[in-house]
């Protein structure tokens, strides 16, 4: 499934991976993530990183953007399955990785029910894929 060209001209494919910084409280004690990892309740533009714009040689530097967070990954298709879009949106706070920043879109007017269904589905998708790294002292 192709998701077409974004306003930045970047083409995202269904199989493209997206990185998600995950706060330590959104990790369970067994190292899996919980639904908090993809909470859509407050943040109207949940951030993700476009993996293909983050060279593997720079992964450690990317991870250190938020050293207290872990990193989970989903695909564009996982997001689309929950009716979420993915839109590249440059973010200067990401420094050298500013162009790799994207936001999840399409949920601004969703009910909590639908937002939480999506968060749960993304939780499961992330847990089925590999959790890339866990933060120090993860879990509660």
């Amino acid at each position: 499934m192709a998701c077409g060209l974004s306003s930045s001209g970047l083409s995202l494919d269904a199989n493209d991976y997206l990185y998600r910084f995950v706060h330590r409280s959104s990790f369970n004690g067994d190292g899996t993530v919980n639904s908090g990892a993809f909470s859509l309740r407050r943040d109207p533009e949940a951030s993700v990183g476009i993996a293909k714009l983050i060279p593997s040689s720079s992964f450690d530097a990317f991870r250190l953007l938020k050293p207290e967070h872990g990193l989970a990954q989903i695909t564009v298709e996982d997001a689309a399955a929950t009716e979420l879009g993915v839109s590249p949106q440059r973010d200067e706070d990401w420094g050298a990785f500013a162009d790799a920043h994207a936001i999840l879109t399409g949920y601004a007017h969703w009910t909590n029910k639908k937002k939480d269904e999506a968060a749960r589905a993304l939780r499961d998708a992330a847990n089925q894929r590999r959790i890339l790294c866990r933060p120090p002292n993860f879990g509660l």
């Binding site: 409280s25 908090g36 943040d43 967070h69 909590n112 939480d116 269904e117 509660l140």
Partner: protein, 231 residues
């Protein structure tokens, strides 16, 4: 009185005095339930809720510092426990409504990993979290939310014990200042998401289901949602 107290069968009970309690050695996972209030000899709480402050009940021994760990009273009905209430303790007594205080020991298998204390500690920790605790603009947790969550936790714990549900809930702080309990039992999953006095209940069955059954419930009917999980 020594460690033999901790090996009493689960359904036996024994009265002891405070003086006897002072002689207890290290108590490991033992914890106490006083009516609606849990406390642990080994868990020292820093609870400081304004309407239901931490009440150190007594300090007998370095390994036996009993503080109220979790309180279930509402802000409208602050907790007051006179020290003399604790002159008698009953051990391993399950039918607690007629019992003032229980000590539940490691001899009770399902209690041997009292996740409820970690959970209660997490709720206490949330109370200290400042706004933007996740670095992405998250809201802090209100006292009202924490009160409701503590009440819910107590109900969840008791329900899990009574129904022998071993998979402990995940406690999920959310960026909008709400607190969620994620619970799975068999092919069912239940979210209870708490904000203020409001609780959103969300159910999935089977686990592969994407769409949920959703409703806003009143705190007193939390048990009904839990019954669904166990049924």
């Amino acid at each position: 009185m020594g460690t033999n107290v901790l090996t009493l069968p689960a359904h036996s009970s024994k009265s002891v005095t405070l003086a006897e309690l002072q002689d207890l050695p290290a108590m490991g996972d033992v914890f106490c339930l006083y009516r609606r209030h849990l406390f642990s000899p080994t868990a020292v709480s820093e609870l400081s809720r304004p309407m239901t402050p931490l009440i150190p009940l007594e300090s007998f021994h370095s390994l036996l510092t009993i503080n109220v760990l979790m309180e279930g009273m509402t802000a409208a009905s602050p907790l007051r426990i006179p020290k003399q209430t604790f002159d008698t303790f009953l051990f391993n007594q399950w039918d607690f409504p007629t019992t003032e205080v229980l000590l539940l020991g490691p001899s009770v298998q399902s209690m041997s990993h009292p996740w409820v204390f970690d959970a209660a500690k997490s709720l206490n920790d949330f109370q200290q979290w400042e706004p933007n605790w996740n670095g992405a603009g998250a809201l802090a947790f209100s006292s009202e939310t924490l009160d409701t969550a503590r009440d819910a936790l107590e109900k969840i714990w008791l329900f899990f014990v009574r129904n022998d549900i071993r998979k402990q809930p995940n406690i999920v702080p959310l960026d909008d200042g709400s607190i969620r309990f994620e619970m799975v039992n068999g092919e069912k999953e239940l979210f209870l998401t708490i904000l203020g006095k409001s609780i959103e209940g969300q159910k999935w069955h089977p686990l592969t289901a994407v769409e949920s059954e959703y409703q806003v419930i009143e705190p007193p009917v939390v048990e009904r949602e839990l019954e669904w999980l166990a049924a």
